[in-house]
């Protein structure tokens, strides 16, 4: 946890991406980049294609046109688990945790890709499997400490309030030690205090763990406070890209959000 936050070279380059579902065009020739250690926000009205874009980045959707390059390597139609292996983790708009499992176990699933022992070895829990489990548990504990959720460690996720579930989901993504973290509306449905807490954790993740963050968010004050640069989508097209101040004063953005007089 000692990386100093310096925005570096582009870590993710999205070039001319188009995505359509049958006749419905979700994304149209979208291009932008994300630099190392920055917080990059994607905003736009409902149905603008924000979540589709995240899904393209972590391989859930395969675009009909354009390329995604992660850490300088162009990828061709990766699967989500390959994207995860390369260091991309994400959270979901609607919480996707195992509700009946404890917080601890949910976070352990975030370590799944890094486990080398097979099912049988783990069942016997001896030697290498045991060592590995302890290592992963230690890593998960640092995440628990980081997110200050010690008091719910052994609580089933389904019993937790919504805001805390969101935090656990962030925790599961962090357990994978990602280089690029995709957050899909991390603050949706939260009250003011929960939003403040979450904002602080996002900044801490960026600052202390050095992760690069791409975030979709509707709360404009949060977006403007947190992010270094903002991409604005409207009907699948990129209409603006720049610092929060530039975006705020962009005429197309204002029109997209407030509507245009016809």
């Amino acid at each position: 946890m000692t990386t100093d936050r310096k925005i570096g070279a582009p870590i993710l380059e999205i070039d001319n991406i188009s995505l359509a579902f049958g006749g419905v065009v979700a994304l149209q020739a979208v291009s932008f980049d994300v630099r190392e250690h920055e917080i990059r926000a994607i905003i736009g009205p409902n149905g603008a294609g924000k979540s589709s874009l995240l899904n393209v980045i972590n391989g859930v959707y395969h675009p009909q046109q354009g390329t995604v390059a992660f850490k300088g390597r162009k990828r061709h139609n990766v699967d989500p688990h390959e994207a995860a292996r390369q260091g991309i983790a994400r959270t979901f708009q609607n919480i996707a945790l195992f509700r009946g499992m404890t917080v601890l176990d949910n976070l352990m699933t975030g370590r799944n890709l890094k486990m080398k022992c097979n099912f049988l070895q783990q069942a016997v829990y001896w030697g290498a499997a045991r060592r590995e489990e302890l290592e992963h548990r230690a890593k998960v504990e640092t995440v628990i400490d980081f997110l200050e959720i010690q008091n719910v460690r052994k609580t089933p996720v389904g019993r937790l309030p919504y805001g805390l579930q969101k935090r656990v989901e962030l925790g599961r993504a962090l357990a994978a030690e990602p280089e690029l973290l995709l957050l899909d509306e991390p603050m949706a449905g939260m009250n003011m205090e929960e939003k403040q807490d979450m904002s602080r954790f996002i900044l801490d993740v960026n600052d202390q763990l050095g992760a690069t963050i791409v975030l979709i968010e509707h709360d404009m004050s949060v977006v403007m406070d947190l992010s270094d640069r903002v991409v604005v989508l409207d009907y699948g097209r990129k209409i603006a890209d720049g610092t929060p101040d530039e975006v705020r004063n962009n005429k197309d953005v204002i029109d997209a959000y407030l509507g245009v007089a016809h």
Partner: protein, 650 residues
């Protein structure tokens, strides 16, 4: 088993490190795992901290502020300051910055050891007002990476510097400890003080150590005991129970992972010794009750059945009294099926002794714990007397009292009813406040507690109220309003009560019903009501309240001193007493004088022979608007009991 070596804490520390170097001295849950430090390790940690502080310029007699949750490093900082002949000043971790200013200035603090970013931020904020503060050491570096203030340094760095210093001056630590005297000040604890500025209570090593030895001997603590330290370090109880007793008996201090995990940590550690104010016990009980209501039918039935058995037999068994064989067998079964598992969940399976104090505890609460076999006892004391004045001894416990004076403690009741205490634990002085010290400690060395109380026939001390609030009826009977009000408030249906009687011929009361509890009761009986005032005026509600008052009176009749202060007449008020209307303080204490003036009409009616009284009062709504409420209130006569009858019945 008290050991007689060492007359200052640093010497006791070295003694423990020598006698039981490998026994656990302190534990902390870090990253999900309990980390243990042995006595030898703790001595080493304290040594490196002390040497580090010395290298930074900490001098003998200087004061070290300590702010944060109960963390091993903060306890070591206390040890380190004392080893250097300095004085630790623990402060409340939840105090806002402005509140810290006074203490930092008053104690002329130059050095502070704090827990984390939150505390660092507070100190940096008030730095301009506290120019003496030059060094702030923090335990947890999280969030502090970008802080560049020259005052800041991590405890880790401080200890590294200390180890280097110790290598160059190997005899320094031992020499400094050698210079300590039992008459030196061991700690300054600031009392919250209801009026004016807090006062720093200076306690000497001799006072604290002698008191702690008495306590350790009283309940027979030894190295195998475990305690969870979760109450604020700035509070005298933590200093005495955690810090002082651990030094003497050599048992283990366990620091919770975070303030939110105390219940889990309790369960994992299973302490043998526990202290909590009544509200902690109340919270635990409430949680148990909520979970039982959610449990399956069978579990619920079992719980209620066996709690009935426990109520009948549990306390008698705990106190070694006679119990019918059938109940004894049922209680054993209950232990197996209900009490045992329950205590296990609460982390109370290994508990030998549990204390409560600070304020009166409700009978239901007290009985619940004792009936499931937890040896819960009350104690009485304050910062100025190292807590220790009176304490229940095992097997000699009475709900209403705080027990007998402890060995070495003299308690005297002044003419006014005030409790006076002389003991080895009475403070040396209020720091830099000779005037206040003279006021509190008289020429004979008795400390004036400000509490009113008396001894019951068994020699137990009973605390009834603050001395300044206690009055007298015209016939000379002692009138302790808070004592009566508390008795009334133990009933769930009564939220607030205000008693009048000073220089009157009898005691009368205003009563506020508890909307939630009473509303629930009314709904179960299909009693329709439209709102608070309507519910309060229902005859059935009045009857229920009268039953409560009757019970209080019957109870009082058995009391030799307060027997004549039974409540004769009362009114169920039509509105809730509210801080916004100036009737309660912000901490929800009744402002008796103000209420008496505001409702003078009602008070007059209570002391006349009217049976009802009309009143119109202004209320302030939460949005700031004011309105009028009026009601015709019924004056109810309660049943009173003659004191002589009660004696015969008993």
């Amino acid at each position: 088993m008290a050991e007689q070596s060492g007359d200052t804490f640093p010497r006791l520390l070295l003694h423990q490190a020598q006698v039981r170097p490998d026994r656990p001295a302190i534990r902390e849950k870090d990253l999900g795992i309990w980390q243990t430090w042995s006595w030898a390790q703790v001595a080493g940690e304290a040594r490196s901290l002390a040497c580090g502080l010395a290298a930074q310029g900490f001098r003998r007699g200087e004061r070290l502020a300590i702010i944060g949750d109960n963390r091993p490093r903060l306890y070591w900082a206390m040890m380190a300051a004392q080893a250097l002949g300095g004085v630790p000043v623990p402060l409340y971790q939840d105090a806002v910055a402005a509140e810290l200013v006074f203490v930092l200035q008053d104690a002329e603090i130059g050095f502070a050891v704090v827990e984390d970013q939150e505390q660092v931020d507070k100190l940096l904020e008030i730095l301009p007002q506290c120019p003496r503060l030059k060094h702030i050491f923090f335990d947890d570096p999280r969030g502090l990476r970008h802080y560049t203030q020259t005052e800041l340094m991590s405890v880790e760095k401080l200890q590294a510097a200390g180890r280097e210093f110790a290598q160059r001056n190997p005899k320094f630590f031992a020499d400094e400890i050698e210079k300590g005297r039992p008459s030196d000040i061991a700690v300054i604890l600031y009392t919250s003080g209801t009026t004016g500025h807090p006062k720093g209570v200076s306690q000497t090593y001799a006072a604290v150590i002698e008191t702690a030895r008495v306590l350790v001997a009283f309940d027979g603590f030894a190295e195998k005991d475990d305690i969870l330290c979760y109450l604020p370090m700035a509070w005298v109880g933590d200093f005495l129970y955690s810090y002082a007793q651990v030094h003497i008996a050599g048992f283990c201090l366990n620091c919770p992972e975070s303030p939110d995990t105390v219940m889990t940590d309790l369960r994992e550690i299973g302490p043998t010794y526990y202290f909590g104010p009544p509200r902690v016990y109340e919270n635990i009980l409430t949680q148990v009750m909520i979970r039982i209501e959610d449990a399956s039918w069978l579990k619920r039935r079992m719980f209620h059945y066996f709690m009935g058995v426990a109520k009948r037999a549990g306390m008698k068994i705990l106190e070694g009294r006679k119990v019918p064989l059938k109940d004894r067998v049922l209680y054993k079964l209950g232990e197996l099926l209900v009490y045992g598992p329950l205590k296990n969940v609460l982390g109370m399976s290994r508990l030998r002794v549990a204390y409560t104090g600070g304020e009166a505890i409700g009978p239901d609460l007290f009985d619940f714990y004792r009936s499931i076999g937890i040896n819960l006892k009350q104690l009485y004391g304050m910062t100025e007397t190292c807590v220790t004045v009176c304490m229940h001894s095992s097997g000699d416990v009475k709900l209403e009292t705080v027990g007998r004076p402890l060995p070495g403690v003299e308690v005297r009741i002044a003419e006014s009813g005030e409790v006076l205490v002389r003991s080895p634990g009475v403070m040396k002085e209020y720091y830099k406040r000779p005037d206040a010290t003279r006021e509190a400690i008289d020429a004979e060395g008795f400390f004036h507690t400000g509490d009113a109380g008396y001894f019951d026939p068994d020699g137990h001390l009973k605390i009834i109220d603050r001395a300044k609030d206690v009055g007298k009826l015209v016939d000379g009977t002692l009138f302790a309003p808070k004592y009566l009000e508390n008795k009334l408030k133990y009933f769930p249906y009564i939220k607030e009560a205000v008693c009048f009687g000073h220089q009157r011929d009898k005691v009368c009361a205003f009563i506020n019903i508890d909307m939630a509890a009473m509303g629930n009761w009314a709904e179960k009986r299909n009693l329709p009501y439209s709102g608070y005032a309507d519910l309060a005026s229902q005859p059935a509600v009045c009857d229920l309240v009268r039953e409560c008052v009757d019970k209080v009176n019957r109870d009082l009749a058995g009391d030799p001193v307060l027997g004549n202060s039974q409540i004769c007449r009362f009114i169920v008020l039509h509105k809730e007493l509210d801080a916004d209307d100036g009737e309660l303080t912000r901490t929800r204490k009744v402002r008796r004088g103000h209420i008496g003036e505001k409702y003078a009409v009602l008070v007059d009616a209570l002391y006349s022979d009217k049976t009802s009284c009309f009143i119109e009062t202004q209320v302030r709504f939460e949005d700031g608007r004011a309105g009028m409420v009026s009601a015709d209130l019924k004056i109810v006569k309660a049943k009173t009991y003659s004191v002589a009858d009660a004696k015969q019945a008993a």
